[in-house]
């Protein structure tokens, strides 16, 4: 039996019909048409389906949609402001932090939750925050750099990426 659900997705109220056994992932992709959130393992092991629920990263494959009513859902589709990319998206593009791109929406959402509370996160803090998001292409280095770079750009610290790499290695560089 399907029930009527009122979800707040990316600031828009959406009314959908879904059965009780549908995960938030199924409802986002199949009822809301928001296919930016990817389905990977669907068992809570890969992080590809990460979205923000009331500001915290959660695995959409392991959350029932019926438990998401009256909560704020943020997906990768809500990151950009019109044509203007979110600093994280811009940094991922500029630094080549995506290869096949399948893990990217989950990475972006987990990283957004981190930077919202800690924009100047250290390399270790970024690695710890992303420890539940698997990537099989990049080897993670460029992802970590892109997250750090986006955080610093958003606070006005216009550090060049090369300098960020040196800072991580040595704890400081000529650009600050």
């Amino acid at each position: 039996m399907e029930t009527a659900l009122k979800l707040n997705v990316n600031g828009e109220v959406r009314q959908v019909l879904a059965p009780a056994n549908h995960s938030l992932l199924e409802v986002l992709r199949e009822r809301c048409g928001l296919t930016g959130t990817k389905h990977g393992c669907e068992l809570g092991e890969c992080g590809a389906c990460t979205v923000l629920l009331d500001g915290e990263p959660v695995l959409a494959c392991l959350v029932l949609a019926v438990e998401c009513e009256d909560r704020r859902v943020e997906t990768v589709e809500g990151l950009s402001n019109g044509a203007a990319l979110h600093p994280l998206q811009q940094a991922f593009a500029d630094l080549g932090a995506a290869q096949c791109g399948y893990c990217t929406p989950g990475m972006l959402m987990t990283a957004k939750a981190l930077l919202d509370s800690n924009p100047l996160a250290s390399e270790m803090e970024v690695r710890e925050a992303l420890a539940g998001n698997l990537c099989r292409c990049t080897g993670y280095w460029k992802i970590v750099e892109a997250v750090q770079w986006a955080g610093r750009m958003s606070t006005g610290d216009m550090v060049p990426p090369q300098c960020l790499r040196e800072r991580n290695a040595a704890g400081g560089c000529s650009h600050g």
């Binding site: 389905h39 809570g44 915290e56 990263p57 494959c61 959350v63 539940g132």
Partner: protein
């Protein structure tokens, strides 16, 4: 898409309502806490339910309360526990155990009650439905043979909770509530050493909170062994709690091993090797060796059973070294992959 089977869902508003809903049909109803264990298990058709009772809206099952004797609501998320300043101050070993559970993104949803009630795990059980059908199922689900020990009359699926060995070691208790009343039992009594019936609570009981004892001068820690630094369940966990006398002699010792049996396993020989002794190179080594014989490491999870048995001694020794302020072992045994084993 790996979909959940059909079920009905009811959100309980308080503990009384959750107990009443569970009591209506305890065999076919399951409680939904964080869902990070139950939902994957239902997707793979390991666990079944006609109705799920959601506990998310039960406000008095959340939060961390009290000062000297702290209480942690069963629906408190794992990430809330890792961020709590009071818990970090009083029970850093507990916070460390919780921090080692899965990954940060899963800990925002997973709860402490859910981690304690985690289903037991096994190489022959945690597989897709098709994989399990191909071997005719196993004793734990739809079969009659335990493939880990085919002549065994019992199931050897392992207890994979990271919080349980630590909570057993520090002497924590849990509150169980049902329509018949409520009771408080030590965490170790919550478990039964059986892979199929692994919980000592009745089907109609709701685990509502975890009660931590006063810290006094207890030092506790948790050491976890797993392949990767995140996501993985433990292949071995060591929860150790000690109290020392005026001259540094051990006056109280409780050591529990996780992931080497169907319940957290106490290591009394290791405790006996410490009591009345100071923590020295010799005593921590002896206590570690004493734990090796206790562990029932079998071929039911990652890594080989012989290496896990060897690591039981190393891990108990490592936890005791940390509690005694002794330097770490100069050399860690290599993993079967060649890299030195690390506690994470």
């Amino acid at each position: 898409m790996l979909r959940l089977p059909e079920f009905s869902f009811v959100a309980a508003r308080d503990i009384g309502e959750a107990c009443a809903l569970l009591a209506e049909a305890p065999k076919s109803t399951r409680l939904l806490a964080g869902g990070t264990d139950l939902l994957p298990n239902m997707k793979r058709r390991h666990q079944h339910a006609q109705r799920l009772v959601g506990l998310r809206a039960v406000a008095n099952m959340r939060g961390i309360h009290g000062d000297s004797e702290m209480r942690v609501g069963a629906m408190t998320t794992l990430s809330t526990i890792t961020r709590d300043a009071k818990l970090q101050r009083h029970w850093p070993g507990f916070v460390r155990a919780v921090q080692s559970i899965s990954s940060p993104v899963l800990r925002t949803t997973g709860t402490i009650g859910g981690n304690l009630c985690l289903d037991t795990r096994c190489n022959y059980y945690n597989q897709s439905e098709e994989w399990r059908q191909a071997i005719g199922g196993c004793m734990k689900e739809a079969g009659d043979i335990c493939w880990v020990a085919p002549s065994s009359p019992r199931c050897w699926a392992i207890s994979a909770s990271d919080s349980a060995p630590l909570l057993c070691a520090i002497g924590a208790r849990v509150r169980l509530v049902s329509v018949r009343g409520e009771r408080v039992i030590p965490v170790e009594q919550l478990f039964v050493d059986d892979g199929i019936v692994w919980l000592g609570k009745s089907d109609d009981e709701v685990l509502t909170e975890v009660l931590l004892p006063p810290v006094e001068n207890t030092k506790a820690t948790y050491w976890k062994l797993r392949r990767r630094g995140s996501i993985d369940f433990p292949v071995l966990g060591v929860g150790a709690a000690l109290r020392m006398g005026a001259h540094g002699e051990v006056t109280h010792a409780r050591i529990f091993l996780g992931a080497v049996s169907s319940a957290p396993l106490r290591a009394p020989e290791s405790e006996a090797a410490l009591l009345g002794q100071q923590l020295t190179e010799a005593t921590v080594k002896a206590a570690g060796e004493a734990a090796r014989g206790v562990a029932h490491a079998l071929d039911n999870t990652d890594f080989t059973m012989l290496w896990r048995r060897q690591m039981t001694a190393v891990w108990v020794e490592g936890a005791l070294r940390e509690l005694g302020g002794l330097p770490p072992r100069a050399q860690m045994p290599e993993t079967p992959l060649g890299a030195p084993a690390m506690s994470v």
